[in-house]
C-alpha cells in the first residue's frame, strides 16, 4: 500500500519534471536569440523531459501493472540519435552562415562543413 502511494507520487513527480523540462525546451526554442543557441534548448532539455516522462511510465507500470522497462530503450535511442541531429543542424547553421562564423582551426585546417569541393567532389585546398 505504502509502496503504491510512494510509487504514485513518484510517477506524478516524474511527470511534472518531464513536463517542466519539455516546456523549458520549447520556450527556449522560441525565446533564444539565434539559431545556434536555440539548438541547445530542445535537443537536450527536451531529452531530459522525455527521459522523465519515460521514467514516469516505467514507474507507473511497476506500480499499477506488471512492470516494464522497455521505455528505457526509447531513452537509449534518443540519447544515441540526438547528437546526430544536433550535429547536422549545427552544420546547416554553419553552412548557411546563419550563426556567428566559427573560429579558424589551427594548423591550416578547416571545419569539415566549410570544406569546399570542386565539381568532381574533390577538396579545394
Amino acid at each position: 500500500m505504502t509502496m503504491q502511494v510512494i510509487g504514485t507520487y513518484a510517477v506524478a513527480l516524474f511527470l511534472l519534471i518531464g513536463a517542466f523540462f519539455m516546456l523549458v525546451g520549447a520556450i527556449g526554442l522560441v525565446k533564444l536569440p539565434d539559431p545556434m543557441t536555440r539548438l541547445h534548448a530542445p535537443t537536450k532539455v527536451g531529452t531530459m523531459g522525455i527521459g522523465a516522462l519515460l521514467l514516469a511510465s516505467v514507474t507507473n507500470s511497476w506500480v499499477f501493472h506488471d512492470g516494464s522497462v522497455h521505455e528505457l530503450l526509447i531513452m537509449a535511442f534518443l540519447f544515441v540519435t540526438a547528437p546526430i541531429s544536433a550535429n547536422f543542424m549545427s552544420k546547416v547553421n554553419i553552412h548557411r552562415r546563419t550563426c556567428e562564423t566559427p573560429p579558424e582551426v589551427p594548423e591550416a585546417e578547416v571545419w569539415s562543413t566549410l570544406v569546399e569541393r570542386d565539381e568532381n567532389g574533390d577538396l579545394i585546398q
Binding site: 535511442f77 544515441v80 546526430i84 547536422f88 552544420k91 566549410l114 570544406v115 565539381e119 567532389g121
Partner: protein, 960 residues
Amino acid sequence: MSLFLIVALPFLGALLPGVMNSAGRQAVGGVTFTVTLAAFIGLLTNLPAVLAGELVQTGFNWFPELGLNVTLMLDGLGFFFALLILGIGLLIIAYARFYLAREDNMGEFFTYLLLFQGAMVGIVLSDNILLLLIFWELTSLSSFLLIGYWKHLEAGRQGARMALTVTGMGGLAMIGGMLILGNIVGSYDLSVILQHRDLIQADPMYVPALLLILTGAFTKSAQFPFHFWLPHAMAAPTPVSAYLHSATMVKAGIFLMARTWPVLSGSPEWFYIVTTAGLITMILGAVIALFKHDLKALLAFSTVSHLGLITMLLGTGTAFGAFAAMFHILNHATFKAALFMSAGIIDHETKTRDIRILGGLRHLMPITFVIATLAALSMAGIPFLNGFLSKEMMLEEMEHTYLFGPEWLVPALATFGSLFSAAYCFRLIGHTFLGKKRDPESYPAKPHDPGAGLWLPPAILVVLVVVIGVAPFLVEDFVKIVTAAVLGSTAEVPEAHIKIWHGFVTPLYMSIVAVVGGLIVLAMFKPLSRLWEATPRPEAKAIFDEIIGAFVMYAKMIIHPLHNGAFTRYSMIFGVAVVAAGYHAWATGVLGEVTRAVQPVGWVEIACWIMLVAATIGLAAMHHNRLLALILIGIVGLMVSIAFIFLSAPDLAMTQITVEVVTIILLLLALNFLPNQTPIESSFLRRGRDVVVAGAAGLSTMALTYHYLLRDAVAAPISEFHLANSYKGGGGTNVVNVILVDFRGFDTFGEIIVLGIAALLIYALTEALLNGPVRARLLNRKPDKPLSGTQHPMMMVILTRVIFPVVLLVGFYVFLRGHNEPGGGFIAGLIVSIGIIMQYMASGFGWAQDRVRWPYHGVIGAGVLVAGLTGIGAWFFGKPFLTSDFTYVRIPPFEKFELATAALFDLGVFLAVSGAVMLSLESFSRLARRAHVKDSDEPMDVDPSKSIITDLEPSAQEGV
C-alpha cells in the same frame, strides 16, 4: 440458284481479283467476269418463278434478339434491279478490263467492284430492312473506295469523301427511319412491313420515319438538295461512273422508294415531298447539265435530272406513275450506261473530256459516234428509241398532276425540264461529234475508234435502246410484272400499253415543244452560256466544303481549348463535378436521425488539431518554398500518426510514421533535381477561384465525415466477426494484422504487388532516363546552390553503425509479434529499409551498395512469390488460396510459440516491401550518381585513426 448464293457470290468472288493480281490482267478481268456471270445465270434460274408471280424467299436467323435476320426475297422488282446490276455489271467489267491503264491496280479495282456489286444485289434482295441497311451502307463504303480509286487525284479523294459523307448521312437517317418503321410494325421483315400500310400511316411517327427514310433515298439518288455529290463522284474511273453513278447505286434510292411504295406512298406528305423534290431535281439537273463542258459532268447532271424524273413519277403515288417510273429506270440504265462508256472511250482516245476542245469526231470515231448518238437521242426523247416511250409516259402522268399553283404549272415545268434535257443531248452530239472535220493532231491525242473490247459493251446497250424503242411490247409484260411488285396489294397494274403512237395527245405536243425548244436553245447556246457564266449561283461543292469546314472548325474550337493539356483545369472540373454530384445526392435525400453521441474533447486533442490545421494551411499558403512544404507535410504526417494512436490504431500509427520517413527521403531525393521554389504564376483571381472550389470540396468532405460519425451503420459491421474469430480462426490477437494477413490477405497480396510494381516502374524509368538524352544533362548538372563539403560526417557514420543492428533487431521483433501485437511484415519491412537507408545516407551510396548482398529486384520477386506460394500451398490441402493454418509448438528452452502460415505470408510481405522501398530509393539516388560527384569508397569524410584525409586520396569513380 439460291438467293444466298447470288448475294454471296460477288462477296466471295471479291477475294479472287486481289489474290490473282499477279496472274495478269486477263485473268483478273476474267475471274471477275466469271463470278458475275455465275451470279447473273443464277438470277436467271429464278426467272420462271418471278414470271409466275411467286415470291422466292429464303433466310436464316442471325440476330434473333434484334430481329436482324438474313432473310432474302425475290419478286419482280428485286429481279429487275438484280438483272440491271448483274447485267450491266457484266458489260462494265468487260469494258473496264480494257479501260484501265497498265499502272492501275486492276485486282484492287475489281475487288472493290465486286464488293459493290454484292452489296447492291444484297439491297435489292433483302427481306429484312436492317439487313438492307447493312448492304445500303456497304454500297456507300465500296463506292468510297471506287471513287477514291485513283488515290493520286485530289478530286478523287474529295469526291470520295463527299459521297461518303452525304450518302453516309442518308444511311444514318435511314437507320432511324427503319427503326421507327420496325417499332411501329413490330418486325423488321419487309414482307411483314409491307402488309401494314394503314398501321404505319396512322402512326404519329409516320412522318418522321418518312422523312428519315426519304433522306436516305434522296441522298443516295442525288435528289435535290443532296444532288451535289454526284458530279464530284465523277472523278472516279469511267466504268465506276457508268456503273455506280448511272446504272445502279444511285438507283438504290429509287429502289427503296419503290420497295416501300406500298406502305409509304399515297399520303399527302409523300406526294408533296417526293414529287417536288423530283421535279426540282429534274429541272435543275437538266439546266446545269447543259452548261457543263466536261462530258462526264454533263452526263452526271443529266443523271441527276433523270433520277429526279423517276422520283417525281414515284411521288405521284399513282399506279401509272410507278409503271412509267419502272420503265424509265430500264431505259435510263441502257442509254445512260452506254453514254458513260462512250464518254470514257472519248476520254480514253482523245485524252480530254472537255466538249469545248472536242468536235468533229464523227469522222475519226464513227462507231463511237453511232453508239453515242443513238443513246443521246434516246435520252432526248426522240421516237423509235426507248427514251421517247418513257418520257411520253412521264409527260402524260404530269399532265394531270397538281402540285402547287395553277394546273398548268407542273406540266409546263416538266416540259421545260424535257426541253433542257433535249438541249444537252443535242449539245452532246453536236459539240462532240458534229462540226467540221478536224485534223487528228488538233486533239490532245490522236483519236480513233477503240478496240471491240471497249465499244462492244455500249453497243450491246444501244441495241437494246433501239429494240425497246421499236418493239416496246417485248418488255411490256416484264415491266408490268415489276410494277406489280412495286404496287403490292395497294393498286392494280394499269391496263395501258406502251405504244409509240398514241395519237395527237397533249404529251406529244409537250414532247414536240421540248425537242424543238431544245434545238432552239442549243442554237442560242453561246449567249445563253455567257449568261449562265455571268449568273451568280451557289456552288454546291463550295457550300459543302464550307459546311464541313465549319464543322471541323467548330469541332476544333470545342475540342482543343477543352483538351489543351491544362491539368489545373482538368482537376478543377473533377472537383466541381464530384462536389456537384455529391451535393445533388445529398440534397435529394432524407437526412437521418443522429444515433451516436458526440464524444468529449480534451485540449491535447485541440492542440494536435491546431497543429494539424496550421501545418496544412501553412503548407497551402507557403508551398512556394518547397523544402518548407516538405517539412510541413512531415508535421501533418506526424499529427495524423498521433491521431491514429489516440484513436486506438497503433498499427496505423506505426505504418504512417515509417512511410512518412521513407516518403520524405524520396521527395528530398527528387527535390534535389527540381527547382527549390515554386514560382507564383496564377493570378489573384485564379487563386480566388481555386480557393472557392477547394473550400467547397473541404466543406463537403467535412459534412460527410460529420454525418457518418454521428450515425451508426444500418447493421452491425462485419468486423464483429473478425473480432470474434481472430484468435480462434486466425491464431492472432492483433485483429488488424489478422485481417491483413488472413481475413483479407488477398488485399494485402495485391498491395505488395502494387509496391513491387512501383519499384519496377521506378527502376525501369531510371534506366530509360540514364540511357537516354537526359543522361548528358545529369552528367553536366551543376548544383544550384553552394554545397557544404561535408559528405559523410564521422559522427553519423559511427552512431548509425551502432544503431543499425539494433534497428534490424527491432524490425525482427516487430515482424514476429505483429500477429498478436502492433506490428507485422509491412512495418518491419519499412523499419529494416530505413535502417539500410540510414547506412546509405551515412556512409555513401557506393560504400553501402557494395555491401548489399541481394539484388532488390530479387527481393521483391521473392517476396511476391513467397506470399503467393503460401497462398497456393493451401491448394495441396484442398483449401482455397490463402487459407491459413497455425499450430503451437514447444521446443525447449523456448516458451510455447506459434507457427502460422500467416507468418510465412507476412514474410513475403516483409520481403516485397523492403525490396520495393530499397529499389525505389536506390533508383532515385542513381540519378544523382551520374550527376556531379564521384562516389567514395571510404565511409567517412575523416578517419583520424588512419592519419590520412581520405578525401585527398584519389578514388576511382564508382560504377552504377
